[in-house]
Symmetry: C2
Subunit: 455 residues, 2 copies
């Protein structure tokens, strides 16, 4: 019964990337003829440790799922085997999304409790989106944020070192490898080593050489010579297979012998700051790329201590967001149709707040910096510019997705407008997200009403 060939997600099984309970509930809504319009919010209740802001990312893939949603033959066959009703499955075969989606554009800083995506649709449709939308937006936002921290650290030092994602191999599976490249680009990276991501998203791809290239020749010198014979001035030589300083000298000797300027050398181990200075003495005109366990903290240390480098290649720490590997995105029902009107809705589960009703995210600036946000009811009168944009209306895409460089530009500009205290690598201050008075009143009164019903 196991389909080895289906170990990856393809258009044929994409609709199955969902939790069983979504389908179970959908069948219940359908069979019980209970399909009110509902509004769901995707948001982060709390930001991960040491995160004063998150950079929203992943919207385009979430919307792609909604737009291309299709329950094909293979999916229906599996669900039939698992006991779903024929009539319900016939309904799925023709299912198309007919609702509305509003969202924060990718590259926008987002804070606690603010909806990144708001879906309003018949509940049967809105329910289905939960799993994949949290999955795609949560992960890309996590990585775009990690990347933005690295770019910000370089900018704060007045530097412009390049940043290239080298993390594919250590990402959590193949989709993470590809999506990390995209999210890192949004957060301010220059490119990726992942060729599939390059092809999928038009991201610049970069690469150097591995230790295995060096080892496969009888000497490091022969390895360098052969690579330079092949790639000439584009060559980037890995100099630390045996001894970094000796490797740097060999790289110089080969460049002199061939009478060319090589593009650069790469350093992948040891005391990076000290070695970078030594290498720079030997190869003053040659770019030096650093790729050993790089994260925003190591970049800070390197730059603060006067390390000399022209680029960094973060890997594992970037793609797993090692210091904060999770962000617990939730997708909660906040309003539901009753007798033709949308009524606010919330759950009370211990220690978890959900603000009811369709909302507005307002951002107030002062002196060119973000001063505070106001999370308000959708039509509430309050200060600040609305951050949510309309993406899908009545099932039709009405949003023009910006290209990735434009999203990166948005992220750079908006991260720079986020106050430095919020952007600190450790113990950032908490950004002020105020609750609009209308939303506050609605939350309090609904809570009171529900508590009195259930105590």
């Amino acid at each position: 019964m196991a389909h080895t060939e289906y170990g990856y997600l393809t258009p044929e099984n994409l609709a199955l990337f969902t939790d069983l309970y979504e389908l179970t509930m959908m069948q219940g809504y359908y069979n019980q003829n209970h399909n009110p319009t509902a509004t769901f919010d995707l948001f982060f209740r709390d930001l991960p440790p040491n995160r004063g802001y998150m950079v929203a990312a992943g919207l385009e893939q979430a919307i792609h799922y909604i737009e291309t949603l299709s329950f094909g033959e293979r999916v229906i066959e599996y669900l039939t085997e698992h006991g779903f009703d024929e009539e319900f499955l016939s309904h799925l075969e023709t299912l198309e999304f007919t609702g509305d989606v509003r969202a924060l554009p990718e590259g926008t800083p987002v804070f606690s409790n603010e909806p990144l995506v708001e879906v309003t649709a018949p509940i049967l449709q809105g329910q289905l989106l939960e799993t994949i939308v949290i999955n795609q937006i949560g992960y890309q936002s996590l990585i775009a944020t990690k990347a933005a921290r690295m770019r910000d650290m370089i900018t704060q030092h007045g530097d412009e070192q390049s940043l290239v994602d080298f993390g594919s191999r250590r990402a959590h599976g193949s989709d993470a490898g590809i999506k990390a490249a995209r999210a890192a680009y949004i957060g301010g990276f220059d490119g990726t080593s992942n060729v599939a991501a390059g092809e999928a998203f038009g991201i610049p791809i970069y690469g150097t050489m591995a230790h295995s290239w060096i080892q496969s020749f009888t000497s490091e010198r022969a390895a360098f010579e052969t690579f330079v014979d092949e790639y000439g001035e584009e060559s980037i030589l890995l100099i630390d297979t045996y001894d970094t300083v000796s490797g740097a000298k060999t790289a110089r000797a080969v460049a002199e012998e061939k009478d060319i300027d090589i593009a650069g050398v790469r350093l992948d181990s040891g005391d990076l700051t000290a070695l970078s200075k030594e290498v720079n003495e030997i190869l003053a005109e040659t770019d030096l790329f650093i790729s050993s366990g790089i994260d925003e903290f190591k970049i800070r240390r390197f730059l603060t201590n006067g390390g000399v480098g022209s680029g960094f290649g973060p890997g594992t720490a970037l793609v797993t967001s090692t210091d904060a590997p999770k962000v617990e995105g939730v997708y909660k029902l906040v309003a539901v149709e009753e007798d033709g009107d949308m009524q606010p809705s919330m759950k009370l589960s211990t220690g978890k707040v959900t603000y009811p009703g369709a909302k507005s995210v307002r951002r107030v600036e002062r002196d060119g910096q973000y001063d505070r946000d106001i999370l308000a009811l959708r039509d509430e009168d309050c200060d600040g510019g609305e951050q949510l944009v309309s993406v899908i209306e009545d099932g039709e895409l009405v949003y023009q997705f910006p290209d990735l460089p434009a999203i990166q530009e948005r992220a750079r500009r908006s991260v720079s407008k986020t106050p430095p205290a919020i952007r600190q690598l450790e113990d950032p201050e908490r950004y002020d997200v105020q609750i609009g008075s209308g939303l506050d009143t609605q939350t309090t009164s609904l809570r009171r009403q529900l508590e009195s019903q259930h105590s």
Copy 2:
């Protein structure tokens, strides 16, 4: 240029899931007519913090990549645009793996420096596999280990609670969602909520209901009644949308009204231990599933403090292995053909040891427990049973992949043979991996030789 539709990996772009430098090196090997046979080892230099063992997993997907490897039209077109040579690309179009693979069977405990996979092939072929093989085996091993820790904790308490993966939404992308379900099953889980994983791997799928189901009705009672009308005795009701104890009473009332035994209730928030006892007072005959931030530490606390539950649904902590979200698998060249003979090879990069040569992993048992391993040269005479098995010979699959229940059984049996001190959740003792005297001598003499060449 960006292909939005290609945001997921499919058979058409799978070959591109690699780092650019692999392809650059491959072209260099090809054009420079340098394609010696090489042996690469995939291993973990260090285990993650608080891990005394790792459970090997992901081999079947890694081998699937090797077996189905194909550079089709779309891939060739992209590589052409990126300046690769026509002749090299023609070579790729007909490329098939012709080498040998030996590996640790999935479900086997693995320790520092032991090869999980050993590839011997023309270097051009062997080089390509690095990225995807580390990616798939690293991630699944990480999650199988996390899962095994949870199963082990339950077993140590003499219990048999069920474990179901509820993590899809918080996994790092869609592939992680699917592969986590598989790896968790290997590590001792009973099933997953991920429908795509169920279909792909024949894993049992489970689900309950979400808070949104409850909220979409005018009362919790109406929500329960409608669900029970639809699913009868299979119903598992979520009782903590408003108030857990009140929810449990409502569930009981609905079951009495309908005169059926419901399958269970689920608890997703609050003080789990205390609430589980209260709920058990109300619904003594009903299974209670616990799904709030579950990991092995929370399971231990729950069981130690007398919590009453019949199953756990770990999510985020499982699929991101939150307490140890990375394992730095490496894929290193350990031997290379020279004048027709395989010569051991190693790099010396600061602080990183690689043992040269094709190897043997021997496991020595004493009194039914693992006593020590010996990492030795392949043909070295030493104690213990060989752990590596032959998977591919001369490009042909010679290994019969066990089905998932058999792999799970192997993992359970072998984890139970791993000494308790190695299995501790915190600060485990380090398992004894000895270096065989032949390998030790070879390592020392090769190191000395390389150091004298490069100082």
